[in-house]
């Protein structure tokens, strides 16, 4: 178990694995919903340490990965407009659209800049009054308060040369969509801890009840993940389906009230297309009507954008838990982090990229 050896709380982790082994009596499929959890699982080889009846599949937990190709191409078109300074997080600028990534666009003369925070993009707009500063606002609920604050401040201070290209995604509708998938295999979820730190988990309670599925709000450290799995397996074995909070040291049932109110003031729920997965109703945020003047999608008319994903990419099945990265014939061959073909390889947090980075070749090797 060479990976776990590098982990400080290895003994606690091993005790949890023994506990899970003592509980489980039949096969169960669990899905984690956070790219950080995916990374931890693959990095420490947790899935291989679990007793074999338990299978972990990796959900659409990386917001960079699921940003639609259409939206990325729209970002490219906007970045190429005159007087535009186009900004986003470093990860997002490296994701290839139909014609390379945004950083390559920069080498062809576009003003594309990496910012640490959306508020930095707002400062950039203040400092460059003759330029039009656009921030590519992507992310799950964790990122929404920061993006909302940038929009809120832009409106309050009437900074009119700033706008946001919003492509926000939400976790609960994605869970519902996965559970409605024909042939769904997922029987329990590890909920995303930091998303719930912001939003709380009341919405997850409705999902657990409606779909009779256990959801355990879980942190990202190996001990957290193993404990989350243990709690989910105990529920499944006992025929229960409720929301439990493994990560209570950070997550409260109602989340962060100030952050939720800020998000609600700025954004409203909208349909959203997810890369690899397709359209999911009411699964994203867009700016409210009062923020029209700061909405890059309305300000920049770049026309209709038509995109096609490579047919051989199976990332849609991976993100729904039907397949694993190693089931893809292109994995590690035509498709690598340097030449990604689909959603789950485009960012380091995607499942295909994590498998590639840690040298996974077969779906379930003997540990």
């Amino acid at each position: 178990m060479k990976y776990l050896d590098e982990y400080r709380d290895r003994d606690v982790a091993q005790a949890l694995i023994r506990r899970i082994a003592a509980t489980v009596t039949r096969p169960w499929v669990l899905m984690e919903m956070c790219g950080g959890q995916t990374h931890s699982i693959v990095r420490y080889g947790l899935d291989r340490l679990l007793p074999s009846p338990i299978e972990l599949v990796h959900g659409p937990g990386c917001p960079v990965c699921v940003t639609s190709l259409e939206m990325i191409d729209r970002a490219h078109a906007i970045a190429a407009e005159p007087e535009v300074i186009f900004t986003s997080f470093g990860d997002m600028l490296r994701v290839p659209g139909s014609n390379g990534d945004l950083l390559r666009l920069r080498s062809r003369g576009a003003d594309v800049r990496v910012v640490y925070s959306p508020l930095d993009a707002l400062s950039l707009a203040r400092a460059n009054p003759t330029k039009r500063v656009v921030f590519f606002a992507i992310g799950f609920e964790t990122t929404a308060p920061a993006n909302a604050m940038a929009a809120f401040q832009a409106r309050k201070q009437q900074i009119t040369n700033f706008s946001l290209l919003v492509s926000h995604v939400l976790v609960p509708p994605a869970i519902a969509s996965i559970l409605q998938t024909q042939g769904n295999r997922v029987q329990g979820f590890l909920g995303p801890g930091h998303v719930c730190a912001v939003m709380g988990f009341r919405e997850y309670e409705a999902l657990a009840e409606r779909y009779r599925v256990p959801i355990v709000v879980t942190g990202f450290e190996p001990v957290d993940i193993l404990q989350g799995i243990s709690m989910a397996v105990e529920q499944l074995e006992a025929g229960r389906a409720i929301v439990e909070n493994q990560y209570a040291r950070t997550v409260a049932r109602d989340g962060n009230r100030v952050a939720r109110e800020l998000v609600g003031d700025v954004f409203e729920i909208a349909d959203r297309k997810w890369r690899g997965v397709g359209a999911i109703p009411k699964s994203g945020y867009r700016l409210r009507a009062e923020y029209r003047a700061w909405d890059a999608e309305r300000i920049f008319d770049v026309g209709a954008i038509d995109t096609r994903e490579p047919e051989r990419c199976i990332s849609g099945s991976i993100l729904r838990g039907l397949k694993k990265p190693c089931d893809c014939p292109a994995f590690g061959k035509e498709c690598t982090p340097q030449t990604p073909l689909g959603a789950t390889m485009v960012s380091a947090e995607g499942a295909c990229a994590a498998y590639f980075q840690y040298g996974r070749r077969a779906t379930r090797e003997v540990a």
Partner: protein, 91 residues
């Protein structure tokens, strides 16, 4: 891209009516908006995502989380170079 990163508040200030802090991550310090964690003060530890404090945590939690985030390569967001665990000092 979806995780908060732990840091220590080293100074608090206001800018245009908003609460901000200097927060130390690894070798570098960044400005972080405290509007959603208004009670955090100097010496407190916060989980920060894209320049925004989303939760308060304690020092042990911060140190543990930092170790794991380092090992899974998730501290790049705040930190342009490799460094020791800022909460434990040099190994």
């Amino acid at each position: 891209m979806c995780l908060g990163i732990p840091g220590e508040v080293t100074e608090v200030h206001e800018d245009r009516g908003l609460k901000f802090a200097q927060v130390r991550f690894g070798g570098i310090t960044r400005e972080v908006c405290l509007e959603c964690q208004p009670d955090a003060g100097v010496g407190d530890f916060v989980l920060v995502h894209v320049g925004f404090a989303i939760a308060r945590i304690d020092r042990d939690e911060a140190a543990r989380a930092w170790d794991v985030l380092e090992q899974i390569g998730q501290t790049d967001e705040v930190k342009p170079f490799k460094d020791d665990n800022p909460f434990r000092g040099a190994p």
